[in-house]
């Protein structure tokens, strides 16, 4: 009786160890499979011409940087336009996004698409806005192991997700919105509301010395590293996170997670751990009034640059936000390449 009992105990111990030691890997592996399956399901809905239209070579440098904050009539996108898809195809495309993003990330992206539809329905411009004017494309063939990129974007949105097996990055990505608050099916939606509020909470938590360092003595009127600035890194400014208390560090991580957490949970957790490990080399800067949505701010560390810039282009500045997230060490997943 002893041997079977010892065997059972060992088997249970081994199983428990695997569950405890590799939960992230298990989640990541499922994400890679899940995303690839969703991509394949989307491709199966397409005709031959559409399959050619959605697919680009992984090394296509022009397509890699074919993204912008501008409307699609001002800055041409390539890939498949949502408005040209059937209902089934469109649903499959959105399912793919849902698989590639976290729940909150998908909700944010959906909100940005909806905000553009609100802009279209307001009917005050001849520029084409709206939920039909978003494009989806692949760079490299969707795979559970080889690097490939999912691109989704249009006006105020450019998601560049590079995935390689259990790894994934979403940098560089442009996350923007106008209007920043609107009604949709009877609910009030603020696609960038959490980051707006969390940033204010963070700057309000600073003591006088920290705030003096953090608040820049000059106006930052726009993104410094927006579209067209790949490969650039600016000198960090503001207050060093090394001076933050544990509570302030937590506030900063929760703020950062609004961008780093857009991608699926396994990749997001990995990225946040990396950011957390480098907090002492991270800076936080603020430019403008200490009011929600009215000031520019930046979080900059060795593997992360986030900028948030309200746009003073006419109208309520809190209703039009541009933001960028970059990783100077791994934009477009360059570390995944052999």
């Amino acid at each position: 009786m002893r041997k079977p009992r010892r065997f059972t105990v060992m088997a249970v111990w081994l199983w428990a160890s695997l569950l405890g030691v590799v939960p992230v890997l298990r989640a990541a592996e499922s994400a890679a499979v899940r995303v690839t399956q969703a991509a394949d399901a989307f491709v199966r809905t397409l005709n031959e011409s559409q399959r050619r239209g959605v697919q680009f070579e992984f090394n296509d440098a022009a397509q890699r940087t074919r993204w912008s904050n501008l409307p699609v009539s001002m800055a041409k996108r390539a890939g498949l336009r949502l408005g040209d898809l059937t209902a089934e195809q469109r649903a499959a495309a959105m399912n793919l996004l849902r698989a590639a993003l976290s729940e909150r990330g998908y909700e944010k992206i959906l909100g940005i698409v909806q905000s553009d539809e609100v802009l279209r329905r307001q009917g005050n411009s001849t520029v084409p806005f709206g939920q039909d004017e978003f494009f989806i494309s692949f760079m490299g063939k969707p795979s559970v192991s080889a690097p490939w990129m999912l691109q989704f974007g249009g006006h105020h949105l450019a998601l560049n997700l590079t995935m390689a097996g259990d790894q994934g990055v979403l940098t560089p990505s442009l996350i923007a919105v106008q209007p920043a608050m609107f009604e949709w099916n009877g609910k009030t939606v603020r696609p960038m509301g959490r980051e707006t509020d969390k940033a204010l909470a963070l700057v309000q938590s600073l003591d006088a010395t920290q705030r003096k360092a953090a608040v820049l003595a000059f106006e930052m009127r726009d993104l410094a590293l927006g579209p067209g600035h790949d490969g650039e890194t600016i000198a960090p400014e503001g207050v060093q996170v090394a001076t933050f208390s544990a509570a302030q560090r937590q506030l900063l991580l929760e703020l950062v997670a609004e961008w780093s957490g857009i991608i699926h949970d396994a990749a997001a957790q990995r990225k946040l751990k990396e950011i957390e490990s480098k907090l002492d080399q991270t800076w936080f800067a603020w430019s403008g009034p200490l009011e929600a949505g009215k000031a520019y701010f930046r979080v900059q560390g060795p593997t992360l640059i986030i900028e948030y810039a309200p746009q003073r282009l006419g109208g309520d500045v809190t209703m039009h936000i541009h933001s960028m997230v970059r990783d100077p060490t791994n934009d477009y997943g360059k570390q995944f390449l052999p």
Binding site: L70, P71, M74, V118, L119, Q122, G123, N124, S125, V127, H155, Q178, P179, M181, F182, E183, T188, A217, F218, E219, M220, R221, D222, A224, G228, H229, E232, T233, I234, A235, E237, R312, L313, G314, G315, D316, M319, H320, P328
Partner: protein
Amino acid sequence: MTRRSISLLGVLAASWWIAAPTGWTHRLDECLQAMRVNVATDRLTLDLDLTPGASVAGQVLALLDLDADGEISATESVDYARRLLRDVAVTLDGRGLSLHVVSADASPLAHLKSGDGRLRIRAHAGWDALGTGTHVLDLTNRHLPSISVYLVNATKPADPALLLGRQVRNPHQSEYRLEFTITRQDATDPSPP
């Protein structure tokens, strides 16, 4: 006024605010001049993106499209860049530098008119190889001050021997100072000191 009518007015006001026509998604009454400063041991590189708002584009286009043919030629872009750079004063350790246009590329006229186009300029200024220690670059941009907003940021040098220090700007960023340090005599030598 009754409480009910006040509430109704409040709801109407909120509805209007949330659904208020925006229409303005692009730059209007200002010209954004966003500059990136890159220092090396032997030169300064300035990258300037000039984005005129829709309401002020006419002023800029009058300076850019000199033959008024409705198109921005390569020559016109470079000529405008040269004139713009005459309004930008740069000194290194107190000595004046001369900026030279390397490239100038303009968006199509229609985009410039609508506030979404830009003129992208790259300029260089050279200097003799700098010694170790701290150096000071001062920059003043006086191009179209009445309609412009300015951004200036230093980009990380490619040479690890060049360390960026303080950046000091006036509130409108039309005046900028960058302190940087060269840590090796031959800063192009990649071997450790």
